[in-house]
Symmetry: C2
Subunit: 95 residues, 2 copies
Amino acid sequence: MTEKQQDVIFVGNKPPMSYVLAIITSLSSGNLKEITLKARGQAITTAVDVAEIARSRFIKDLKVTKIAIGTAEMPPREGENKSRMVSTIEITLSK
Amino acid sequence: MTEKQQDVIFVGNKPPMSYVLAIITSLSSGNLKEITLKARGQAITTAVDVAEIARSRFIKDLKVTKIAIGTAEMPPREGENKSRMVSTIEITLSK
C-alpha cells in the first residue's frame, strides 16, 4: 500500500463532500501524489464539483493535470433488451 | 460571420441532440474549425454527452482538443442572501 503512487476514486451519487474527504484522506496517508476521479452519467457533475471543492477549499497545491471524456456501454435495464451508452469522465488531480 | 474561426455553444437543459445539431450546423456553414461547449451545474453532464454523441456518431473527424473545469459565482436565489458557487466545464472540439 505504501508503495502506491496513484489512486482511483469512483464518484457515484453520494454527496460531493464524501469524495472530497476520500481525496484528503488518500493524499495525507503517505507518498500518494496523484488521484483520478472516475464518474459516469449524472455523477459527472458531482466529479467536477468534487475536484473544484478539493482544489479551491482544501488542498491549495492540488492541480487538475488531466481530464478525459469517453463513452461506456452499460448493460440493458431490466425489461429492456438494448444496452445503453453513457458518458464518462476521468479527472486526474496531482500535488 | 464567414471570417469567424471559433464559436461557443452554451449547453443548458435542452435535450443533447439540439446542441449536437447546433454543432453540425455551425461546422457545416463554412470555415469554422473549432467549437467550444460551455456548461455549468447539472448541464455539465449534458455537455459531455453532446461532445461524445457529436464525435462518435456524426462528425468522425472531430477531436476533443481541450477540457477545462472551473467554478463560477451565481447570484443568490430569491429569498436567500448568499451567492452560490457552481462548477463549470468548457469542452473544445476541433476538426
